[in-house]
């Protein structure tokens, strides 16, 4: 049992980060914190990919004469793309938050909701 837990330590940590991110995203009324939660969630997935690419005793995937075992390079390559996507999402999210704050003078979801409801009634 202990070996199982310890052997998969990286996965437990990743799941932890993922859950914290998702919880923040769901529960916080603050748009900024929502976005932060989303970012954590994405990061956790990136960590997950990198750790499945790890091969025991493997070195960095660069062909040299001394090494015989390499880590799988593909997940890391994929994650480069995913990071780019994540950065773009964050940038767009921040831009939206700035515009929302300008338009509603608030970053709290409940507050914005109230304003929208008032608008709809008119």
């Amino acid at each position: 049992m202990t070996t199982y837990l310890l052997g998969h330590l990286n996965y437990w940590l990743i799941i932890g980060v993922m859950m914290i991110g998702m919880f923040t995203m769901m529960s916080s009324p603050n748009l900024m914190k929502k976005l932060a939660g989303l970012s954590m969630f994405q990061t956790a997935v990136i960590l997950f990919y990198v750790s499945i690419g790890k091969v025991e005793d493997g070195t960095a995937p660069i062909i040299t004469e001394t090494a015989t075992r390499y880590a799988n390079p593909l997940p890391q390559v994929l994650m480069l793309t995913a990071i780019v996507v994540g950065v773009a999402t964050m940038a767009l999210g921040f831009a939206l938050i700035i515009r929302i704050r300008r338009a509603y003078n608030s970053m709290e979801e409940d507050d914005i909701h109230l304003q929208i409801q008032r608008e709809e009634l008119d």
Binding site: L38, F41, V45, I52, T81, V85, L92, I116
Partner: protein, 499 residues
């Protein structure tokens, strides 16, 4: 032909940055138009080539699959590409005036650039045979559509866009996680390769987790009930052109990916035992009843149509869940038919918005007298939405009910018919208000466009009627979508695996 297919992705990829750099609204529009025209021609040629059952493979950069990225085009994704390209083309022609009215002049070239990126993303999703590549295209189209929705002229558009961003990114990340699990189990990202070697790793528990993550991610993107909450506001608040494009293509592409995953990557027998068909049908049935009911409660035409989209997506999900030939055919044909129908309806709604500056039914009493053409288009396309025989909507309903009855699933058949009756009610709610309610003359605004002022929108009306005509044409002459769907279904149901 192989080279042509990749152009479907490459053309918008080159066009979009150029458009972003040219700060002139006319050139930007013309470029977008040219691009869409090229895509439409190419996609039609490709579809024509593959309905025979032939499959086109294109290896990007000459790398052999399963290591390199491969584009695989069969009649199913060729049909999707045709839907995307043609809807985009008509939307661009239709939307010139509306974009000029809704978007500030200084942003309009960026608007068109983002518009092209959405098309790029959707095309890529449709064509690629590599599962990670699919994720990238999914994010390209999503990010561009968040930006487009935020350009809606009310400030609510910002909130709608933000909520969509949160939901959409969550969905995409789930999808990514699913791909990760699948990769961990199989060591490959190529769909055909995954399917071919599926038996080697089918026993791993990891694969079930992968399937569920992928499914939830895609369901979020496809706005399947109960993960639909982002859709109504996003469609309501987006600029008209964006609504037309997204409503008729983006969710459909997500449904297409769902079909691809369930019928080609994961073998049918694998998920059949998991009660998954039952869940899909439940989600679909609840979706169509809930969506139709909510549509009935709405006052804004745009929001009503958005909820009706939730309902119509339910039909497709049910079709997938039925897991028989008629059901899957219905799902695919309905993608096509609903794209056409919804485009016509949102185009009509957009023209109402442009001329009367409102889509609220309270303020549109008797609009049938002031805008007879637009409201006429609305009424006719509404018939297709209900599924009156002779319209495109009927064809999909026919196959869907047939699929449900062939399986002896009377509850599903009942829900489909019940939702259709709700559809009569919400469509008629609009028609009644437009035609038979009130006599006070409405004030029709002139639509300004640059320096010239035009009273009506002949081009937009013509585009709208083209779609209305398509609603009826494809209700009587169904060979294009039906043949493509049947070829695809036979390919998928026939061997259930790779091609």
């Amino acid at each position: 032909m192989e080279l042509l297919t990749v152009l479907l992705v490459v053309i918008p990829l080159i066009c979009a940055p150029i458009t972003a750099m040219i700060a002139d609204r006319r050139v930007a529009w013309a470029l977008t138009l040219m691009m869409c025209l090229a895509l439409a021609v190419i996609s039609a040629m490709v579809l024509n080539d593959v309905t025979t059952g032939k499959v086109i493979h294109y290896e990007l950069g000459g790398w052999k699959p399963p290591w390199g990225i491969e584009y695989v085009i069969d009649s199913l994704n060729a049909l999707i590409a045709v839907i995307v390209a043609f809807i985009a083309l008509i939307t661009v022609i239709y939307g010139r005036k509306s974009a000029e009215q809704e978007i500030h002049d200084s942003q309009i070239h960026l608007f068109y650039a983002a518009f092209q990126l959405v098309i790029l993303g959707l095309m890529g999703m449709a064509l690629t045979g590599d599962i990670f590549n699919l994720f990238v295209f999914l994010e390209i189209s999503s990010l561009a559509s968040y930006a487009l929705i935020a350009m809606g002229h009310k400030r609510q558009a910002l909130v709608a866009s933000f909520n969509y961003l949160i939901a959409g990114t969550l969905g995409a990340t789930f999808f990514l996680l699913g791909i990760g699990f699948l990769y961990a189990a199989s060591g490959t990202l190529n769909m055909a390769d995954l399917a071919a070697r599926f038996d080697d790793f089918a026993s791993m528990k990891l694969v079930i987790t992968a399937l569920l993550f992928i499914l939830i991610g895609l369901a979020l993107k496809a706005a399947a009930f109960p993960l639909h909450s982002w859709l109504p506001e996003a469609y309501t608040q987006a600029p008209t052109m964006v609504t037309v494009l997204l409503a008729s293509t983006s969710t459909k592409v997500a449904v297409y990916v769902l079909i691809r995953m369930l019928y080609q990557v994961f073998p049918q027998a694998y998920w059949e035992e998991m009660l998954l068909p039952g869940f899909l049908m439940l989600s679909g049935c609840l979706g169509m009843l809930y969506g139709s009911y909510k549509a009935l409660c709405q006052v804004s035409i745009k929001r009503l149509l958005a909820y009706s989209s939730v309902a119509q997506l339910g039909y497709m999900i049910v079709g997938i869940g039925l897991n028989n030939e008629a059901g899957l055919t219905a799902a695919i044909v309905h993608m096509f038919n609903h794209a056409v129908t919804k485009a016509a309806l949102f185009m009509a709604a957009g023209m109402v918005l442009m001329r009367l500056h409102t889509t609220s039914l309270d303020k549109l009493r008797g609009a049938g007298k002031t805008m007879p053409w637009t409201t006429g288009a609305f009424a006719l396309a509404g018939l297709s939405l209900i599924g009156v025989p002779g319209t495109a909507g009927f064809i999909s309903k026919w196959y869907l009910v047939q699929g449900a009855l062939a399986q002896g699933n009377y509850l599903v058949a009942g829900s489909i018919l019940g939702a259709s009756i709700l559809a009569i009610m919400y469509v008629w709610k609009i028609i009644e208000t437009l035609y038979f309610d009130g006599s006070d003359k409405l004030h029709v605004h002139k639509v300004g466009s640059g320096k010239q002022i035009v009273a009506d929108l002949p081009v937009a009306t013509a585009c709208c009627y083209l779609m209305v005509f398509a609603c009826f044409y494809f209700g009587l002459y169904t060979s294009i979508p039906l043949e493509a769907a049947q070829t695809a279904v036979q390919a998928m149901m026939g061997n259930g695996g790779a091609q």
